[in-house]
């Protein structure tokens, strides 16, 4: 059993009358790949937002490698090694795809030079051993975006925006990566190719990943563990095969038929 790097203990969060998270307790083992499922408003994104610092839990403690990161601002959490992608890709819309990535590496360059005014774009980033431009081109290529590199991001197709969004998150070389509905808005035929590619990169990087997903096939295919959210609670936390058989999961999240269909497919494979 590999070591636990992220623990969320007894997280509660409510917006007025609405309970977005209650009694959330999760331990995440290094290198694991976890799917977060649940209907809209079940508390998946709230969970992600709390871990990554966008929301402060009302109660509860989040630790990362033993460090208490509860209510740290997003940038601190990113610097510690947790990053995320977004349900609606968050890009710099007036820039090209390449520039979007250059910004990310530029930020790292600034951090490593302690934000010196003299920081040069041409210099090599010590911990990466490459220049900003090289790194940006490298990941553009790695994520198969070469043909889009000089296009303004606001005109890119939805799938490409998704990938770029994730590529940017990965540029910080996170220990843990949260993907918020990576396949939403991506056509059925592209879906798996895209996920295969992304998951490959993530695995190569040895990054622990938690992904919010509505598509059970995707969940089945990539996760070794499923967290099922319902009304802010985690109603199931187990291996997908078991989790997807759980009565409440079936009742509240995935209809029987879909579950059988998915499980069947898996056993065929």
């Amino acid at each position: 059993m590999s070591k636990i790097i992220l623990t969320a203990h007894n997280l509660n969060k409510s917006f007025g009358a609405v309970t977005a998270a209650s009694e959330i307790n999760v331990d995440v083992a290094e290198g694991s790949c976890i799917g977060l499922i649940g209907t809209n408003g079940a508390g998946k994104t709230t969970f992600v937002n709390m871990i990554t610092g966008y929301l402060k839990p009302d109660t509860g403690v989040i630790t990362f490698n033993g460090v208490d990161i509860t209510s740290l601002p997003p940038r601190k959490i990113t610097q510690l090694g947790i990053c995320r992608s977004f349900q609606i890709p968050q890009l710099y819309n007036t820039m090209t795809a390449l520039e979007n990535l250059e910004v990310s590496f530029g930020i790292i360059a600034l951090q490593e030079s302690k934000g010196a005014l003299t920081t040069s774009s041409k210099a090599i980033i010590p911990s990466y051993g490459k220049t900003i431009r090289e790194l940006a081109l490298e990941s553009i290529e790695k994520y198969g975006l070469l043909q889009y590199k000089d296009q303004a991001t606001k005109i890119l197709p939805g799938g490409v925006r998704k990938v770029l969004d994730i590529a940017m998150a990965m540029s910080t070389r996170p220990k843990i990566l949260f993907l918020d509905e990576p396949t939403s808005g991506v056509s059925a035929e592209e879906k798996f190719d895209m996920m295969d590619m992304i998951m490959q990169v993530i695995r190569d990087a040895g990054t622990t990943v938690l992904f919010v997903e509505h598509d059970m096939e995707v969940v089945m295919r990539y996760s070794q563990r499923v967290l099922a959210f319902y009304e802010g609670k985690i109603i199931a936390d187990d291996h997908p095969d078991i989790a997807l058989k759980d009565d409440r999961v079936l009742k509240y999240i995935v209809g029987h038929s879909q579950a059988q269909h998915v499980l069947a497919e898996k056993s065929d494979a």
Binding site: R75, Y92, M95, I107, L110, T119
Partner: protein, 314 residues
């Protein structure tokens, strides 16, 4: 550090103008020098615009610089131009550093209007300070440089030279900042602050840094204006003055570090023509120019220059 062509040209041009200064008519020299002073302030505004912020109170630091120069020479009898310049830059910078803690939290229209409020408060303070001549302000005179006391005509040249040097230094410095990864980060923060934060950058401290840089530049601008026009008064921090700076920023555009100075120069020319040519309707003339620029050249005169450069190459 690589300098792009336009900047090299700009620097060359500045040197050329300075070399020619003895032959340039005094009144044109005066307009160019003031344009330099305004340009420095607008250079700061241009950095704000890269961040998607517009300050309607930048005159605060312009005025702070001018009054630092004025009060040092009036009360402490400091007369050395270089000393006064440096002091003005530092004081304005300090002021910006302090206000920055507050203003870096604000965005969009609120950033603009809160800075407006602060500049108007300073205006009130200066109007009430009768020892400093209230709205009459006071004259700045008896300047020296490195112990020398040039006669008025030489002094014009000296101040012009100092202005040119400060402008060139600022151009290079700001160019360096914009060429650094921070330059791209400014645009990133404008486009999507949340994402930039999630990538590990701090919008607040970036804005604070830019605020201080703009403050120092404005301080220099104020000092130059005070020494060149020889008179300072609270008008320098009145909202209309800030408005003029924003006008110039729009006029020049944010396409290049040189743009603010082009804008400032053109503004100087427009203004003096408007004053003389239509003494009764100069406001209208300026207003029409502003609308024309916004409608025809949304990216400022700079975009025009850029186009011409392209054409001349083809």
């Amino acid at each position: 550090m690589k300098l792009d062509k336009s900047l090299v040209v700009m620097l060359g041009l500045l040197v050329a103008i300075f070399a020619a200064s003895p032959w340039i008519p005094q009144w044109i020299l005066f307009i160019i020098t003031l344009a330099g002073a305004n340009g420095l302030v607008v250079l700061g505004l241009m950095l704000f615009m890269r961040l998607g912020l517009v300050s309607f109170g930048q005159a605060l630091f312009f005025c702070a610089g001018a009054y630092t120069t004025g009060m040092l020479s009036l009360l402490l009898k400091v007369s050395d131009i270089i000393l006064l310049m440096v002091a003005s830059g530092i004081i304005a910078g300090l002021l910006a550093y302090l206000l920055g803690f507050l203003l870096a939290k604000y965005r969009a229209i609120f950033f603009g209007l809160l800075s407006l409020a602060f500049s108007m408060i300073l205006y009130g303070v200066l109007v009430k300070s009768e020892t400093l001549g209230s709205t009459d302000g006071f004259t700045v005179s008896g300047l020296t440089i490195l112990g020398l006391v040039p006669d008025p005509t030489q002094m014009k040249i000296v101040l012009f030279g100092i202005t040119i040097i400060v402008v060139m230094a600022s151009l290079l410095f700001v160019n360096m900042v914009l060429k650094s990864p921070r330059g791209l980060l400014l645009t990133a923060i404008r486009d999507n602050e949340i994402r930039a934060e999630y990538m590990g950058a701090s919008a607040k401290s970036t804005i604070h840094l830019i605020y201080v840089i703009a403050g120092v530049l404005s301080g220099f601008g104020g000092a130059i204006a005070a020494m060149v026009s020889g008179h300072i008064d609270p008008n320098m921090t009145f909202w209309t003055t800030s408005g003029e700076f924003v006008f110039i920023a729009i006029l020049g555009g944010i396409g290049s570090v040189s743009a603010p100075f082009i804008g400032a120069l053109i503004f100087g020319v427009i203004q003096t023509i408007a004053y003389g040519y239509s003494p009764n309707t100069w406001q209208m003339t300026i207003g029409i120019c502003l609308i024309a620029v916004i409608l025809v050249l949304p990216d400022g005169l700079w975009s025009l220059m850029a186009k011409m450069r392209k054409n001349s190459r083809v």
